[in-house]
């Protein structure tokens, strides 16, 4: 127990005085400390008085101890804090902070005024969330006492996603620390010194050029208006908030959606996500509002009449779709499930195909994800990864195979960085566009990396006690590859994690997975994680839908919930259910407009098996309906009993079997006939996200991801 301002409060070992106070609801002003960051102790605003301790130690760096007696607000402390804050404000536009008309101005001048340059809080995008203002209010600073020294730095607005005005920066260092210590990127640093100190890049190059990954972590920790998201900076206070799970990649980060005017206005990573722990990435942080507020949303049900699509009401569209589907034998109907729909929708689609349509084929529309899930199921009896992402936190070695994580699962870099900082070895097989390759200990960027992997596995197999003879025989001839010796040494007998991505696709993916699972993942303390590309592939697979091929060439009727699918030439009747307009609309006979991520309710499952709730923050456009609702209306239209979530219950997940090592192995290595992976790494309901989000296009073009 510790006594703070006369209140006796509990604390956990390792907590600082600041953390103990915050948990007890006692406010101590801070500017440089942040819950995501290790203590720093630079701003000195959190100074407190501790009995029997000399001077005034900072609460954010002082560990709480039993019987400590702390005072946080004596007149001495406040006076000292006030003079520190005055110095900070002497280099920060402060007219609105000390203005005598402030009270009335706040009352009547409620919206922030869009301005190029910030000369006071009323012209600042951070007005509603500024921590500097809060501290100034708490300390009742009403005159600064120094002439304002305005730096007159040029505004930095040439990079995508966020803008920088270092004239309002207070040099708290949070952005620099989060970028280096948490993200492991180090795209910004303190440059120069003394009065000229400024946060920036080397030689003042752009963030694009300097290797920034536009994760937005710096924007979210900045206590002032120095850093702000371009698309949303002037939106003011949200009216609604909802915690949901992002489905723009397989990680399933917990995010907080913010809504206003019945739209999603912003999205920020949520502190307590099991897979992301407060961090996010360019997709979840910056792409959700522009994507879902895009003008290409489908708004009305459409039915083809005399060759052209016309808007109709829901009843007519459902009836039309039901009538069309009934014309075909079950064997002629294909249902293609988007990897972004909720678990509930997937289960209902499954029921629809089996019970209502009497055995129509149902497939997951994701090449790598369905292949990897099917292969892992045949290996272990249970489709999916053999462990959770948190295994990376305990690993001594992390093996990345065929995944350009900075593009497909950017947030995982945070865990990899943490592992590296702990001393784990990061081994990276495959090309990468990550400009910050200092994350990696051993890098094999060459196209023949799978042969290096085969050589590594052969060496591991030959040295294992049990007999891998049959298996390792097929790997003969690979041991000589340069690097195989070092890599197998780094993995042998270690607690390891293998992360496998879609880069293995053109290269006999099943053989690669089998060998990797059998030889490495089967060893004790080792997990194999499938880097599922898309939002809810795992959940859809758990609902009983997983296939190995795309749409059959000979399906006559199609019901698709994803716009990417190529249409078989022979399809006579097509029902499309999607949030976005696409080329596919031209081929559809019936179009159902559905809701998107910020409008959905239900659950989704992350690539490592966490089931999370999806909650809406806005209404969809026009007459769009939730996928589950559309499916259930269609079921009724087909004459079935109306389905709801409870009738779509799922049995228990199968138990994972020990690896059997019985699978025939092809030789690993390139297989030129397989179709290449699409250039763009991120899709939602079959729509290329970069196509809809202009800033993402800029970013990916610059990195050479898309032409």
């Amino acid at each position: 127990m510790i006594t703070i301002d006369g209140k006796v409060v509990p604390f956990r070992p390792g907590q600082t005085v600041l953390e103990a106070a915050t948990e007890a609801g006692i406010y101590i002003p801070t500017l440089c400390s942040h819950p995501h960051l290790p203590p720093f102790g630079a701003c000195r605003l959190c100074l407190v008085q501790i009995e029997n301790v000399r001077g005034l130690p900072p609460a954010c760096t002082t560990p709480a101890a039993d019987d400590m007696v702390v005072r946080t607000d004596t007149e001495d402390i406040q006076r000292l804090r006030r003079s520190i804050l005055r110095l900070i404000l002497s280099e920060h536009p402060n007219s609105c902070i000390v203005c005598g008309e402030r009270e009335l101005c706040e009352k009547y001048n409620v919206c922030p005024t869009k301005a190029g340059r910030v000369t006071g809080c009323n012209l600042c995008p951070a007005k509603e969330r500024c921590e500097l203002r809060r501290v100034a209010d708490y300390l009742k600073v009403d005159d600064v006492g120094y002439l304002l020294d305005y730096h007159n730095y040029p505004l930095e607005r040439d990079d995508p996603f966020f803008e920088r005005d270092y004239n309002v920066c207070i040099l708290c260092g949070r952005c620099v620390r989060v970028c280096e210590e948490i993200r492991g990127v180090g795209a910004i640093a303190f440059t120069k010194r003394g009065h000229g100190t400024k946060v920036g890049t080397s030689f003042g190059i752009s963030h694009l050029d300097g290797g920034c990954q536009f994760c937005g972590a710096c924007v979210d920790v900045c206590p002032t208006g120095a850093l702000s998201a371009r698309a949303t900076k002037w939106h003011g206070k949200p009216e609604k908030k909802a915690r949901t799970a992002c489905t723009l990649c397989g990680v399933g980060c917990a995010i907080e959606l913010q809504g206003r005017w019945d739209r999603v206005m912003d999205a920020i990573p949520h502190m307590d996500g099991p897979t992301n722990q407060g961090q996010g990435c360019v997709l979840g942080r910056f792409c959700i509002p522009p994507l879902f507020n895009s003008k290409d949303r489908l708004k009305y049900p459409l039915v083809r009449k005399e060759g052209s699509l016309v808007p109709v009401d829901w009843d007519e569209a459902i009836a039309e779709a039901a009538k069309g589907l009934k014309r075909y034998e079950p064997g002629d109907v294909d249902i293609l499930v988007s990897p972004n729909v909720t678990n509930e929708t997937a289960r209902m689609l499954h029921r629809l195909s089996k019970d209502i349509l009497g055995g129509a084929r149902i497939e997951l529309d994701s090449q790598f994800d369905s292949l990897a899930l099917a292969a892992s199921r045949s290996l272990t009896g249970c489709a999916g990864s053999t462990g959770e992402l948190s295994a990376i936190d305990r690993a001594d070695a992390v093996l990345v195979v065929g995944a350009d994580i900075c593009l497909t699962h950017p947030v995982l870099r945070v865990r990899l960085n943490r592992a590296r900082a702990r001393g784990a070895k990061i081994i990276w097989l495959g090309p990468t566009r990550d400009p910050n390759d200092r994350l990696v200990d051993i890098l094999v960027p060459e196209a023949n990396y799978l042969e290096v992997l085969a050589g590594t596995l052969k060496r591991l197999a030959s040295s294992a006690k049990e007999g891998f003879d049959a298996l390792s025989g097929s790997l003969d001839g690979f041991t000589g590859f340069k690097g195989a010796a070092d890599i197998s040494e780094a993995l042998r007998g270690k607690r390891a994690v293998a992360l496998v991505g879609r880069g293995i696709m053109p290269h006999r993916p099943k053989a690669t997975l089998t060998a990797l699972w059998d030889i490495l993942v089967s060893t004790e303390n080792t997990s194999g994680l499938l880097l599922l590309i898309e939002g809810n592939s795992q959940g859809i697979c758990d609902a009983g839908i997983v296939g190995e091929n795309d749409v059959r060439r000979d399906a006559k009727a199609l019901y698709v919930t994803s716009s990417r699918a190529e249409m078989p030439e022979g399809a006579e009747f097509v029902v499309l259910q999607a949030p976005f307009s696409s080329k596919l609309v031209e081929r559809a006979d019936v179009v159902f407009p559905s809701l998107g991520l910020p409008e959905e309710s239900g659950t989704t499952t992350s690539m490592d098996g966490h089931v999370q709730e999806v909650r809406p923050v806005s209404k969809g456009p026009g007459m769009a309906l939730a996928d589950a609702e559309i499916v259930s209306r269609l079921v009724a239209g087909l004459g079935g009993k109306k389905l709801d979530m409870t009738t779509a219950q799922l049995g228990p997940r199968p138990v994972r079997q020990p690896l059997s090592r019985l699978y025939p192995l092809g030789v690993l290595g390139p297989e030129p006939s397989a179709s290449p992976a699409p250039a763009s790494p991120n899709f939602y309901r079959g729509t290329d996200i970069a196509e809809k989000v202009a800033d993402l296009t800029v970013y990916y073009r610059y990195r050479g991801v898309i032409p």
Binding site: E180, A187, R193, S202, R438, L443, E446, K482
Partner: protein, 167 residues
């Protein structure tokens, strides 16, 4: 130390790359040796350019921006090639008191660059120094080896003109 198997290491063997590699290995690729490494690199290359900093950062597994941040903290490092004529203005205590700032301002205006930079034609580079050891002559400026004392803005024009600059 990071290991890259296959490609990844720069193919071009520019002489400066070899010099930097030599310096790095002499210091055992130690992060703690960053300052001496940068000093040696500057001694070899005359200034720290972007590729050189990238190389140092990569070898020490630091961020290039971090290395730049450290380097810009110290006045001794420069980031543009020195000009044919090195111009230095003293801003030591004595010179400061007697108008060194005015001399510096005049130089910056006349040359069209800020201190630490080099003119586009590569003729002049401008630096600030803290005391040249001839305080009696304050304020002092130096072009190449030529020391001029009791400088004023108009004298700056005169001196620069002799070197063919300043208009």
């Amino acid at each position: 130390m990071r290991q890259v198997i296959g490609s990844g290491t720069p193919q071009d063997k520019a002489p400066w790359r070899e010099a930097v590699a030599r310096i790095l290995s002499r210091h055992g690729n130690e992060r703690g040796e960053l300052i001496p490494i940068l000093q040696n690199v500057q001694a070899e290359l005359d200034y720290l350019h972007r590729e050189a900093l990238e190389e140092v950062a990569r070898a020490l597994r630091l961020s290039m921006h971090d290395v730049y941040g450290v380097a810009t903290f110290y006045a001794q490092f420069r980031f543009s090639p020195p000009g044919r004529h090195k111009v230095r203005a003293c801003l030591g205590t004595a010179c400061h008191v007697r108008g060194g700032d005015d001399v510096m301002a005049a130089l910056e205006r006349r040359l069209g660059i800020r201190h630490g930079e080099t003119t586009k034609d590569g003729e002049f580079s401008l630096e600030r120094v803290a005391c040249m050891g001839c305080c009696a002559l304050a304020p002092v400026m130096v072009v190449g080896d030529e020391v001029s004392g009791r400088c004023t803005p108009s004298k700056v024009d005169e001196i620069l003109a002799r070197y063919g600059g300043g208009d």
